[in-house]
Amino acid sequence: MHINYWKELKKNSFGKIGLAMLILVLIIAGLFPLLTRYDPGEPSHSALNPPSSEHWLGTNDVGQDIWSRLIYGARNSLLVALGVGLFTTLISTVAGASAALAGGLYERIMMRMVDALIAIPAFIVIILVAAYVLPNVWTLIFLISILTWQGGARIVRAQTLSLKERMHVYAARTFGANKRYISTRHIIPELGPILVAIFIHSATRGVFMEAGLAFLGIADISTVSWGLMMHYALKFYYLEVWKWWLLPTGLALSVTIMAFVFIGHAFETAMDPRLRVMEGEDWQC
């Protein structure tokens, strides 16, 4: 049975709101040069200024324009979302599908590995490794993906195993289709919806973890990251600056995460409910 996911997504009110929020963030990130005349990294002599017609959201402790940092920060979060989403989905698919298709000892070793990794709190491990490595955006994407693919791999394996047993795959096999034909023409295309769900989930996790690490101070100081902005802003929470520094940044981050959460929820509702793959899977781990 074929479901028009796009149509289903637009019917669901969470899906509609999520899409709208994501499009908003995308537009802001894309139109960055039109929305501000300040360089987000450029310090100035007017530090901790309240909002004015000059600086819409005031300036931070080193005199950088907060509004331009806020909208430029969207690019960083979206880049991490895309990077972690794609890379994690790729590793999950390769690991899970190959385990299910190859079977035998390889499958046993692979799934034992997945089970072991699931028992380890990934975010804590990422914090430790990042504390030593001090990653830039690209190494961070790599690091998060390489430590969080296990949940997705388990789902892909389960789904591949069930697809292998479907009638039309049997039919293809009786007509002499080999393993490669079956996996490229039947299994992988039919994994599609599951992979989209894993992508959305991983992207959410990527945004959260990047912001979380930066919030703890583990980030390249030159990156314009919402988490890093909150890290510095929190030090001044007792001053009035939180109103235009800490709060808008936290809200921008939350809107982005919320957009992904809503879209993910709507997408999974549109899928066969029995395939609620991310049920109980928390993007916070």
Binding site: A119, I120, P121, V125, L216, S254, D282, Q284
Partner: protein, 327 residues
């Protein structure tokens, strides 16, 4: 099959062990700094240097170093923090009770609340009360845990001044007995609320979904047909059976809640292991970072193992390899 389960957790433990051993030794620069922390450099004399090189066997091959490292851990020796001027284990153990208090109470509270909310919401599926609860939780799900903490901090720091914002008890107050317990409870309110609010959404969504599926089962119809009261059907029959996925995910939830506690403790300066890890990040106090990391991850792995071993007893339908069969 039992050995398969044990070996899974043994592998997890080995991964943590080797990560902890290899990371500081593979970093560019002086491994001694990466093992002893930057504070140690200030006190570093040539004699101390030779002694430390010898103690960690850094002049020996990696295999020998690993052996020395392992024997240290077995003896409970996680190194020495030059920042706190105390053994790592001592510093971590001092912080651990606060984290356990925060973690334990939040785990219990968020589990109970999400079970009740999930049962009520699933029972009323599609009605207005269900829709508004679902929407509210979905919105809450979009907020990262540290932002929830920040909002509470601002709300109570700026507008509502009646709860303490920092620490776990009033320093030098000389309180004892019941007053001390009340003081600790008051300090716990904000961190606990923040942590619990961030934990509820995923458990609630899981509980609500399972409840909806369970309500379609024939035994619920039987219970209704017998003329049992609504509350009895809802809680004793459907609710009790829908709880299982919440129980099986407890291990994973402990992992998430530990990570959440790290952020919440940092925001409210709550003196647990999370704050310890955060401070060691700032101070480049690597011995504490490693020791705390090791103890926390092993704690989570053990929690996973315990839950994993228990739930086959709760529901014999579940196979040894777990959750997948529940669907």
């Amino acid at each position: 099959m039992k050995t398969a389960k044990i070996s899974t957790y043994a592998i997890a433990f080995l991964i943590i062990l080797s990560l902890n051993f290899l990371l500081p030794r593979m970093m560019p620069g002086d491994p001694l700094t990466a093992i002893c922390g930057e504070e140690a450099l200030i006190e570093m004399t040539p004699e101390l240097r030779t002694e430390l090189m010898h103690r960690f066997a850094l002049d020996e091959p990696l295999g020998k170093q690993f052996f020395v490292y392992l024997t240290g851990i077995v003896r409970g020796d996680f190194g020495y923090s030059y920042y706190y001027n105390a053994p790592v284990l001592e510093v971590v153990l001092e912080a651990l009770p606060w984290t356990l208090l925060l973690l334990g109470s939040s785990l219990i509270l968020s589990t109970l609340l999400s079970i009740i909310m999930g049962i009520e919401s699933g029972w009323r599926r599609g009605r207005n009360s269900d829709k508004s609860l679902l929407t509210a939780t979905m919105i809450m799900n979009g907020f990262p845990n540290f932002f929830i903490g920040i909002v509470l901090l601002l709300l109570f720091g700026v507008y509502l001044g009646f709860l303490p914002l920092q620490g776990a008890k009033t320093p030098y107050s000389g309180l004892s007995g019941l007053n001390l317990m009340l003081d600790i409870a008051r300090h716990l309110v904000l961190p606990l609320t923040a942590l619990t609010l961030s934990q509820i959404p995923s458990s609630y969504l899981l509980m609500r979904n399972t409840m909806i599926t369970t309500l379609k089962e024939p035994f619920v119809l039987t219970a209704k047909a017998k003329g049992l009261s609504e509350a009895s059907v809802r809680y004793k029959h459907a609710g009790r059976n829908a709880i299982l996925p919440i129980v099986t995910t407890t291990g994973v939830r402990v992992g998430i809640i530990v990570t959440g506690a790290l952020f919440i403790e940092m925001i409210f300066s709550y003196p647990g292991v999370g704050l310890l890890i955060y401070n060691s990040l700032l101070m480049r106090d690597y011995p504490i970072l490693q020791g705390a990391f090791f103890i926390v991850t092993v704690f989570v792995i053990v929690a996973n193992f315990v839950v994993d071993s228990l739930y086959t007893k709760i529901d014999p339908r579940i196979g040894i390899d777990g959750v997948e069969h529940a669907h």
